[in-house]
């Protein structure tokens, strides 16, 4: 790697760079970014980092305290808690990524339809959004679990159903605001159809703030996954998740405090990391969003 030339070093900084610099200037932003990177790397290289197979049962070693061999001790089946926590990062991030992407797609499509479509469609969709949002998340999740049974897919359905209406409402409001903008009217008078207007003009204008809001929802989704898994309604055993580790620890809270400590710690760190990063990102990119939350 050669040192940058004078021209490269003094070239005008593009918008994106300055947002990043803004982010790095904020100590909490740096802290959040570090935590998120650590969690991301842990999830990616989980197999290499975990010292044991997270599902390998060794009953003679059950409920051991923390030691050099088992950093966070072992659970009631003698499984290495540290390895389970490391692999849990992968589940948490996978669920967050898949579920939020799906929620964005569903909510975005419905929001565009509501915002750009006829009034009656708007009325119906807004009523649907408000109805789903009026269920307390956990109650909705529990009702769904009774019906379709506990699984990773159930968790994802719960997240999509809870978040899609929120995204839908935001997209709807933004689309409505755009609908009467002059450049849209000009485009329409040139004969552009709804699909072209929405795809070429509406979506790029809406996507930015939406992504910031979605990134701030990552810790919430991680919490939902862990919460449902803690209740036994999410990830099925023996798959490791932070929630199932907490559940194992809860059952043995009287004699083994370290399992709960180990299961809760990554949850605390990841929610803090994503929240700090999200707040710093929002302030760096679009401070106006502060009001909407």
């Amino acid at each position: 790697m050669s040192a940058p030339t004078f021209e490269e070093a003094t070239a005008p900084v593009p918008q994106r760079r300055s947002a990043l610099r803004h982010l790095l200037a904020d100590p909490l932003g740096r802290f959040g970014l570090t935590l998120v990177l650590v969690i991301l790397l842990t999830a990616i290289f989980a197999d290499a980092i975990a010292p044991y197979n997270p599902t390998a049962i060794a009953v003679p070693n059950r409920l051991q305290g923390p030691s050099l061999a088992h950093l966070f001790g072992t659970d009631q089946l003698g499984r290495d808690v540290f390895s389970r926590v490391v692999l849990g990062a992968r589940i948490a991030l996978e669920v967050a990524l898949v579920a939020i992407t799906l929620a964005l797609a569903v909510g975005g499509a419905l929001g565009l339809a509501a915002g750009y479509g006829p009034r009656w469609l708007d009325g119906i969709l807004v009523l649907v959004f408000d109805t789903i949002r009026s269920f307390p998340t956990i109650m909705f999740a529990l009702a769904l679990v009774t019906l379709i049974g506990p699984s990773l897919e159930t968790v994802i359905v719960v997240v999509v159903a809870t978040f899609a209406p929120s995204y839908g409402r935001i997209v709807r409001t933004q689309t409505q605001a755009l609908k009467h903008a002059e450049f849209i009217l000009a485009e329409r008078s040139l004969g552009a159809g709804a699909v072209r207007i929405l795809a070429v003009h509406a979506v790029p204008n809406i996507v930015g703030p939406l992504f910031i809001l979605a990134s701030m929802d990552v810790p919430v989704v991680i919490t939902i996954e862990a919460g449902l898994s803690f209740l036994g309604f999410g990830v099925r055993p023996p798959t490791p998740s932070w929630g199932t580790v907490l559940n194992d620890g809860y059952a043995f809270i009287g004699n083994t405090p370290w399992i709960i400590l180990a299961g809760g710690l990554p949850l605390v760190l990841s929610t803090l990391g994503f929240t700090f990063l999200g707040e710093a990102l929002r302030d760096a990119i679009d401070p106006r969003l502060r009001k909407e939350i």
């Binding site: 909490l28 408000d130 009026s134 956990i138 009702a143 809270i253 400590l261």
Partner: protein, 314 residues
């Protein structure tokens, strides 16, 4: 205002109606014949047919829906599959525990969050304010059930300061309060952070106003200005926001009830889900949803009453 109240109430009714329809629809999505599930594999076709007739399952779907609807409006949410008691009775027995827990959660939030927000506003832009801000964000971010588990571990199991499980002996108020401390703290902590931020923001706004400047000109101490004159204005927008937060608090309450093995709506639904007792689940979900919708309705009306600009937006 009247028109706004009317339209907002109509929306709330529509939402509750849709919620009922959604719950009714969910039962139909479930694969499997309810009669075979309820009666087991040994049931003859005749017994199944009799069961269907008894439950009204042989009627067309629309008729079933209207029967369901009329039952809901007369307060009949069905019969518990196991105890044969009325679901309404069971749910309303559990609900006071949850309401007490939620209310004490809000109590924590007000007792800690409002002073913290004022304190931040007094020390604005100092490192004290910064630390309080970080604490507030952290309190919001950390999952309440992890707080509940850590609190249970530290204060109940290790230190033994507070009781670990149950809601306390009936009629013994001190005992019941002692059982309330940890779970309500767990669900209220997030709101401590929320309130602190809201109060700080609105306090800073209020502190810029004329009457505060007058109070300053008279040479009143800052502390007195904040707590005597500014707080009553700054608190207004936050009080109305509590209505919206009831949903979060209810979700937190479900976990707190399960972690601390407290009776309540959350524990009730959890146990019913484990045993796949759908009448209880749907009954409790319906009641809490209605409660939540009424709370948001109340807070929306309150906000509209206080701030006329909101009324234009429905």
């Amino acid at each position: 205002m009247f028109l706004f109240a009317l339209r907002r109430s109509a929306l709330a009714c529509a939402i509750i109606f849709c919620a009922i329809a959604l719950l009714f629809g969910m039962i139909y999505i479930v694969p499997g014949d309810p009669a075979s599930v309820a009666l087991g594999p040994l049931a003859t076709p005749e017994i199944k047919a009799a069961f269907r007739a008894q439950m009204g399952l042989d009627q067309p779907v629309t008729t079933q829906f209207f029967i369901f609807l009329s039952h809901v409006f007369t307060g009949d949410l069905g019969i518990d599959l196991f105890s044969n008691r009325r679901v309404t009775e069971i749910v309303f027995e559990a609900l006071p525990y949850t309401i007490a827990l939620t209310a004490s959660g809000i109590g924590w939030a007000i007792a800690l969050g409002v002073p913290l927000g004022c304190w931040s506003a007094i020390h604005r832009e100092t490192w004290l304010d910064r630390i309080a801000g970080v604490f507030a964000v952290a309190a919001i971010a950390v999952p309440s059930f992890v707080v509940a588990l850590y609190a249970l571990l530290l204060f109940a199991v290790e230190l033994n300061w507070f009781p670990a499980i149950g809601a306390g002996a009936r009629g013994n108020l001190g005992d019941q309060l002692a059982h309330l401390v940890l779970p309500s703290f767990a669900i209220g902590l997030g709101w401590v952070g929320y309130l602190a931020r809201l109060v700080r923001a609105s306090m800073l706004e209020v502190l810029g106003e004329n009457h505060i400047r007058t109070a300053r000109a008279y040479g009143l101490p800052e502390r007195r200005i904040v707590f005597r004159y500014a707080l009553r204005l700054a608190v207004l927008p936050t009080v109305t926001l509590l209505g919206v937060g009831i949903g979060n608090l209810l979700s937190g309450a479900v976990f707190a009830e399960i972690v601390f093995a407290r009776p309540g709506a959350g524990k009730l639904v959890f146990d019913a889900v484990v045993t796949r007792n759908f009448p209880i689940v749907s009954g409790a979900v319906l009641v809490t949803t209605a409660l939540f919708t009424l709370c948001t309705l109340a807070s929306d009306l309150l906000i509209a009453w206080l701030d006329p600009r909101v009324r234009a937006n429905l």
